[in-house]
């Protein structure tokens, strides 16, 4: 149970309200041990992996949490940031490798709040894709970590642009397609890269989850009514399952106390079991809707079962932004390149991040992509043109994301004690012309090579 409470603490970060530790401990006690193992968080960077302290000296440090430090210095030791300040004030540790980064800009590794990295290689080649299980709409027992391909060529391509962490999520054509993992984009193996397994679960209610390709091929759920009914039934079934499990535990305890033979255990159902942490409010649902009506239906469902949730997409919900703000939950926005509806102005989606920010909604950007995840910062940069303050745009791919995912004690800003995921670039992280020069993940410098740089070098030399 101790490890379990460590996992829970991942979700107490951020300002949007998590259960108290006491409540969580209570809830944990009701959950079968087997379930606890399934959603055990494995967050932890191998601190021993960084062989030598590194000092970045002379650059402009965008700390995110405490402003900008001109002519700064940052020390990475044992995989963590151990000091940060002006170059004059920070003392280099004994044996440190000092790297002069004068003229460069330094910022924390960027966090992409939804990708399919590790689940795809070539989009059109079916055998290289493990993105979604379409055989049923209710698939909460699908765990992306079972498919995560650590050796994917897409991962080096992505991290070369300063993205060091990402949510990996299944595709969205199921209402409950499975559970997300939070990954680090470097590591010796998949298990090292999968920092938090089953960190959250998408609930998609955008209409594309309908099985209504044609009347001939229509099957349940062919409508939004069907989607809602199916979801409701799934959560009711999970509640029944939960109750039976609790009754069994009680009977078992009674039997032990009375020294009688134990009752027979109820049959395990992985699908329903997977829903329990969400019904308990111990894990976060990522609630995806586009338009205002879908959003309100989805929120209604979530409230019916007391689900803890963050919002996702809401690209065409402009007419209800005050309602969105009243929910007091964060929103994953993007892609802001989503085409507006014909009745919307050209900038209806571009300006959504700014409009949400003005209403006090905590936002984080996501690429919702894999090959193009490397372009995450430009999306944030573009939102500036439509009223999002530049500092907030950068925050929405660093600290805000870390807070939303409950990892802000470890990631998201340049602060002493945090994991040393640090990017060194030629300028504004959000500008498309900025070249990323160095990337450190867990204090280790990542080689600035990918399949693409190798092809470039091979042919440029000819």
């Amino acid at each position: 149970m101790k490890r379990f409470s460590v996992a829970s603490s991942q979700f107490s970060e951020g300002s949007w309200g998590a259960g108290t530790p006491a409540r969580e401990a209570l809830a944990a006690a009701r959950i079968p041990v087997a379930v606890a193992f399934v959603w055990l968080a494995l967050f932890g960077v191998r601190a021993s992996a960084q062989p030598q302290p590194i000092v970045l000296k002379g650059g402009k440090l965008l700390t995110i949490s405490h402003g900008v430090i001109e002519n700064g210095a940052l020390v990475m030791e044992g995989g963590k940031i151990t000091a940060i300040g002006t170059a004059a004030s920070v003392k280099a540790p004994h044996n440190a490798k000092v790297i002069d980064i004068g003229g460069m800009t330094v910022y924390p590794g960027l966090i992409d709040s939804e990708t399919s990295l590790g689940l795809t290689e070539i989009s059109a080649e079916a055998m290289t894709n493990d993105r979604i299980e379409l055989s049923d709409e209710i698939m909460p027992h699908m765990h992306v970590y079972d498919a995560f391909h650590a050796e994917s060529e897409l991962i080096p391509v992505t991290r070369l642009n300063g993205i060091t962490n990402a949510i990996v999520a299944p595709d969205s054509e199921d209402t409950l397609p499975g559970q997300d993992s939070f990954v680090q984009l470097a590591g010796a193996s998949a298990s090292e890269m999968l920092l938090v397994r089953d960190i959250a679960m998408p609930l998609n209610f955008t209409g594309t989850q309908r099985r209504n390709e044609s009347f001939e091929k229509m099957k349940f759920p062919g409508t939004r009514m069907g989607m809602a009914a199916q979801l409701r039934q799934a959560f009711l079934d999970a509640q029944d399952y939960q109750q039976k499990a609790a009754e069994y535990e009680k009977k078992k305890a009674d039997a032990e106390r009375d020294k009688k033979s134990p009752p027979s255990a109820p049959k395990r159902d992985l699908k329903l079991e997977a829903l329990l942490p969400y019904l308990e409010g111990k894990k976060t649902i990522v609630l995806a809707a586009e338009g205002a009506s879908d959003l309100q239906t989805a929120v209604g469902l979530a409230r019916e079962f007391n689900l803890k949730f963050v919002l996702n997409h809401i690209s065409h919900s402009r007419s209800v932004l005050d309602y969105v703000a009243s929910l007091k939950v964060p929103a994953i926005v993007g892609p802001i390149y989503e085409t507006p509806k014909d009745y919307e102005r050209f900038d209806a989606v571009y300006s959504l991040p700014a409009e949400l920010y003005k209403r006090g909604v905590k936002i984080a950007f996501a690429s919702f992509d894999a090959h193009n995840a490397r372009n995450l910062p430009y999306q944030a940069g573009f939102a500036i043109s439509f009223g999002l303050p530049p500092d907030e745009a950068l925050k929405a791919i660093t600290l805000n994301a870390a807070e939303i995912w409950g990892v802000a004690d470890q990631l998201g800003s340049l602060d002493t004690g945090k994991v040393a995921n640090v990017v060194v670039a030629t300028g504004d992280p959000l500008d498309v012309k900025t070249d990323v020069k160095r990337v450190f993940i867990g204090g280790q410098e990542v080689p600035m090579t990918s399949r693409q740089t190798r092809l470039r070098d091979e042919y440029a030399a000819k």
Binding site: E114, S116, E121, I122, S123, A124, E125, R131, I132, L154, A169, P170, D171, S172, E173, T208, P335, Y337, T339, P340, D342, Y343, R345, F346, D347, Y350, F368, D369, A370, H371, N372, R374, N375, P377, Y378, G381, F382, I384, S385, F386, L430, D431, V432, K433, T434, D435, Q452, T453, L455, R456, Y459, A460
Partner: protein, 433 residues
Amino acid sequence: MCRSTTICRWLFCLSTCILAACCFAQQSSSPPSRDVVIKNAVVMTVTHGNIKNGSVYIKDGKIAAVGESVNAPASATVIDAGGKYLTPGIIDSHSHLALGDDINEATSPVTPQMMMQDAFDYQDKAIYRALAGGVTTSLLLHGSANMIGGQAIVIKHKYGADRDTMLFPGAPRSIKFASGENPKRVYGSRHELPSTRMGNFAVMRDAFVQAQDYMRSWDDYNAKVKRGDKDATAPKHDLKLEALADVLRGKLLVQIHCYRADEFLTEIAMAKEFGYHIRAFHHALEAYKVPEKLAAENIGIATFSDWWGYKQEAWDAIPWNAVLAMRKGVRVAIKSDSNDFARRLNQEAAKTMRYGGATEEEALKMITLNAAWIIGVDDKVGSIDVGKDADFVIWDGYPLSSSAVPNKVLIDGDVYFDRSLPGYGMPHYSEGQ
């Protein structure tokens, strides 16, 4: 995850060609006759550097003068750019917008008689959304399901105007060819020819052999008529073969959807075998592998900045492609092939400054003058030079960056988009029009 969107975009919106805006296009409304001066702008001319605090004088929709100061009548309407950047209108050399579901006539691998103008939905809001991103001219191509697709149209993004006013007057005809995976997939999935690259090229070669026969039969007939042979019987008119004959006669710009280096070479050999010229390879993600071969044939490329991996033939794509090819003498355009990307081609062009170090002017050229060359309208648009059409973007922000957005877009000297206006931001359009 937008998987289905991505797949749709890539597999079925695959690219190709045109017909002749010029044959049918009659500009139905006369160009604005009033004089306009844009002053106090950083004028990015594309051909002769930037002019700080520059002005442009527009007369009858054309650029009449450009410089630090211009001689314009006192009665001219003045647009004060407030120190903002002024660029030529963006030109998208590969688009399928306003064609709805009618992009691919995927019922035969050879359909050169398809006219995209017949499907052109001039009320499609995608035209407006691209306009709001600074696009003033687009080449609307047939898709890439067919080895030889249909004939394209060139439009100006005068959203709110009538259909014929949107057609680019005097633009040359283009035709779309394709190669590689898409024809293979479309016909192979039906167990029809072609299902391999051998099949692809065999279908094409066969089509041109038929076209040669067709031309010969007409030449024979015409010769007989000329000799006064009253018994001469005219061959049957065949739209398809007539279109192919126009390719062989050099009347159509050939725009080829092509990814792989080996296929560029096969396409070039095919063109030589039948005696036509290739204007540009589109997508051309492996141009960096054989840039000299393309430069030697004066073949341009219309490519993406950094899209990759969406299918096997896009697996070797690298974001340095555009600049590596340019440095070896290839004329490079960055295009959208997407209603989404059409709205921010400036950002895509700016990526070439980062990946490979294109200069500001080189990057801008990829979405203006070079794109205009691919379409064959570089004598009319694509730079800020006297005599050219007054198609401009006034930008909020530096255009070659992540955070720039058009403030105003002018076409033929007329403001078609103005961000400061309410609603859609269009002086010539309101809902319900």
